[in-house]
Chain length 583, copies 2
């Protein structure tokens, strides 16, 4: 090793020891007759001292010429520091350097390697290797490592086997868009990169593996919304001989374990809520339940009172904001404009102030009596000092709009405390979703999800009403995991494929291997997959997954550091039997 | 859970307990009035009993109709078995079934799910999910899991951070052929799948991560030799502020740990040998040193004795086979034919028998005296009872041929004991390899490998003589890992790219980000990567990596189970702006 110690470990008990350190020049303070240099590595910062009296002239001059991010190796004696910094481990000592070896000079970096860097997002992405030197990003990556190690050891102890599934698989046009990989040995044919190891983990269950997990990269060629990546990482799990409760209980254990070990937080319970309840109460299938603001349906009691806006609409729904009465009239107008923006699309916002003295003031005082408004108060669980917001319109749209409003207000009022962790299972998702454009059903989860036993008959008569054995784990309003009990019967699987518009031939071509496998003794099985990038970010108390990925891509799917994707040379295309279509 | 216990855990102390099991029907023995059924899961086998007296007729008839690989759930009472099988954990008890629930009927499987299956390789690949049910494959996969968990925990404890590097990277025509991935969002541009995370792990070192590891899939689009896979897994590691010895010592620790924990074998030492020594002594850069047969160079003492074959050749080299005198004349002729086969390409084989009574008999008695042959005996370290084999020809070719012969003989004589583990570091590889076809140098390891400090001057005058800080870890004649100390100086990196025939522009286009990174304080660093598939197979005492991969591809890079690669639909190609060139 080019060092005897790292830059984070020297302390008082090391005084008088001769040591060698290596690291980067963090900063230099030159007092004219004395030079202090902080050197940094992953483990910490140690102060070096050079002075005109104790250092040779040659050494002193060499130190004088050091600049930020130079890589140095220094040897010398550990001495007590005059002005101590008790905030850091190494703050009581410094190194009186006797030998300075410049291992690599650095040019002036394009931004400062500091907690509060002067580098903008784009510049830091281009020089990601420098951004990683900053404590924040480095600690994020180490935290991610901690999370994955804890996940692996927990699952392994619970009998889950880590099995690698292939990356070069088969393209299936169902669902999101695949990245494809041309085959050279089989020209005109293509592999696809997996969107998830779904079918393979099911085959492992057919193969009797009983419990499987994998932390695995997955790929989706989608137009990227903010904070999505074309390649992302899943904690992928599957179990045999289980029902839905077994899966939920098992993975409550995992998430509780992570929170306890990583954040010292003991989670007492994982509430469960059906999809219908979640939509009805929070206007979202991933409600953030760190705060209340549960919806109240005012439709039946608010129509026919002469307020035209409400009378003509399908639904009238509202919620109360705790202590919301302190929100000014100007801010209420702001929220009114907010709900009217095209991304939200409401026509207007009705409000009711429930004053501390129990009087009421609303934007619809003309149409509703005190007693009528008191009914609203009851249904929205408002208390004196609260403010009620109400939207009206098409049932589903109104729920969605109100759900968005609820989150935006909570964000504004700082109700989304990143140090509080509120998990929630959302269960009983609909099996199918009607696609109005394509005039056919989509699988809401995926085509391998089993319908509820009691709903199987409905598949023939009212498929849209069929509920699935599907569940999402929501943490602080983010879907961090989702899964289902799978179909293990080849006839039922065929029936679902048909409902999804597959001809028998298409189903056989794409999933024949799976339907074949189900004929040879497939066990009942189910599982779950967690989005690791998001999970780590939330556990780390942050919002942006990019900060927890070593080398992320930008919103155009581009790695600006290595400049990829990029053109390739013609012989490469020729070998694959492909040509680029001129536009 | 659909079971209270698994099929591998019931024992005498469970007698009289009411339990529920679930699993696959392994076999059924129907004695007319009593039926025994073995059911199997990942954990073991438990015997069920149905009999005419104690079972209802309905239950008994249901059991009668069970067939192999049906998935069942059974409840009943654990009872003592009359004829015990003490070889297995569950062999003292059986389950008197009271309730039998057939969870999924199975068709007759295409081959038997037994240790000695009747299924051929191809059939088992097509129905891999059934092959995985066999104990051998299942235990291989669990063993692989054990290996990776131990690797991760060991490295993590040693301060290595598991960091995921991207899979959608940039194509670099140097080295092996890339798999490419067309970009839809950037039409006409392509990602490539990584052949290794080499440049990214180096950037992590530039980023100050200090110690990195990852167990990661890598991809090479090569014509597949036997037992190679287009996607394979590496244990990829990198460290900063190290020299070659530090890396070697660190990873001796890892391999020793694995052998101790997995095989209870304590490795006492990891001999080190330079590439030149390995070639000279064993005709291979990955010698199997579980047995001796070290080469002796007979060139100087064997020429000019009238034996034309030798006189005209550059080199005469031989080795002795311990107790080889028992090899018959017929078998010697067999070996003579063996070395003459085109894949080996020797012209003939000279042999000397060193008899127990110290007399000598050789195929060249006409040309060499007893004393001359005794010199051969000394140089090849032969002892009475040994047989000496000698080849002659071009120096390098002869070494290679003799190396192949040495291995083939060891195989034949069962000297390659899979229960003995003999690691060996091969070091000081040449930096460059001359490519006679392209008339230019190739990097023997990769273009980022640092030359030996003392050889840097030779880069200008005699590049072919430059040795690299590169090393391979060989285990039982297999290269299980390889690495190097890397270049961390941008000028030296540029010089190497130039030597490898890159123009400055090409180097910048492909590796500009790396050379750029080296300008901002790159630390000295080095690392290693282990081939996990091979490592696991060798630790498992087997030769075939395919048996340790859940879903391997065949020699045409095809997954015959899912039938991939396959054609894709035209809209997918259109979206990518690609067309297939008609042949």
């Amino acid at each position: 090793m080019l060092r005897t110690h790292n830059c984070g470990e020297l302390k008082s008990s090391d005084i008088n020891k001769m040591v060698t350190l290596a690291g980067w020049v963090q900063k230099k303070r030159d007092k004219g007759f004395i030079i202090w240099v902080d050197i940094r590595d992953r483990y910490g910062i140690t102060q070096l001292i050079f002075d005109e009296k104790r250092s040779t002239k040659k050494l002193y001059d060499k130190a004088k010429n050091l600049s930020r991010e130079d890589v140095v190796q220094v040897s010398g004696k550990v001495i007590e520091r005059e002005s101590k910094n008790i905030d850091i481990q190494t703050g009581r000592v410094e190194l009186l350097v006797e030998k300075l070896n410049i291992l690599n000079k650095s040019e002036i970096p394009p931004f400062t390697i500091e907690d509060n860097t002067d580098g903008g997002e784009e510049l830091r992405m281009e020089y990601r290797y420098l951004d990683i030197r900053r404590a924040e990003i480095r600690e994020n990556l180490i935290f991610r490592h901690d999370v994955t190690m804890k996940v692996r050891n927990y699952l392994s102890k619970k009998g889950f086997i880590d099995i690698e599934t292939p990356y070069l698989i088969k393209s299936t046009p169902e669902g999101a868009r695949d990245f494809i990989v041309p085959s050279r040995m089989n020209q005109g044919e293509f592999y696809a990169l997996p969107q998830s190891p779904q079918t393979f983990k099911q085959l492992l269950m057919v193969g009797g593996i009983d419990r499987y997990f994998q932390i695995v990269k997955c790929f989706r060629d989608e137009d990227l919304r903010a904070d999505r990546q074309p390649e992302f990482t899943q904690i992928d799990c599957e179990m045999s001989f289980v029902n839905q409760d077994d899966v939920l209980n098992e993975f409550e254990g995992l998430i509780s374990h992570l929170l306890l070990k990583l954040k010292n937080i003991k989670l007492n319970n994982f509430p469960r809520m059906t999809y219908d309840e979640a939509m009805k109460n929070y206007g979202s299938d991933k409600p953030d339940i760190r705060f209340e603001m549960k919806f109240g349906d005012l439709t039946s009691i608010s129509k026919g009172k002469g307020f035209n806006v409400f009378d003509s609409e399908e639904s009238i729904i509202g919620f109360s904001i705790k202590n919301g009465n302190s929100i000014s009239r100007k801010d209420i107008d702001g929220w009114t404009n907010w709900v009217k923006q095209p991304q939200i699309g409401a026509k207007g916002l009705v409000w009711v102030r429930y004053n501390d003295n129990k009087t009421l003031k609303s934007s619809v005082d003309k149409f509703y009596s005190h007693d009528e408004l008191i009914d609203w108060v009851k249904i929205t669980h408002a208390e004196p000092g609260d403010l009620i917001f109400i939207l009206s319109g098409d049932y589903k749209k109104t729920l969605k709009q109100l759900g968005d409003l609820r989150l935006a207000i909570a964000e504004k009022l700082s109700l989304r405390d990143p140090n509080i962790f509120a998990p929630l299972w959302v269960t009983d998702f609909p099996l199918l979703e009607w696609d109005n454009e394509l005039k056919r059903f989509h699988a809401m989860h995926h085509p391998f999800t089993s319908p509820k036993e009691e709903d199987i008959e409905l598949l023939k008569t009212a498929p849209e009403k069929v509920k699935a054995n599907a569940y999402d784990l929501v943490l602080n309003g983010n879907e961090i995991g989702g899964g289902s009990i799978r179909i293990h019967n080849s006839n039922l699987q065929k029936q679902i494929f048909n409902l999804l518009g597959f001809t028998d031939k298409e189903a056989r071509k794409q999933f024949g291997f799976l339907m074949g496998a189900f004929k040879y003794g497939a066990p009942p099985h189910g599982g779950i997959a967690f989005g690791l990038d998001r999970l780590v970010a939330i556990l780390g108390g942050k919002e942006t997954i990019r900060d927890f990925i070593a080398f992320p891509k930008n919103n155009s799917g581009r790695d600006v550091m290595i400049d990829s994707p990029s053109s390739i040379i013609k012989p490469q295309l020729d070998e694959l039997g492909l040509s680029i279509v001129k536009k």
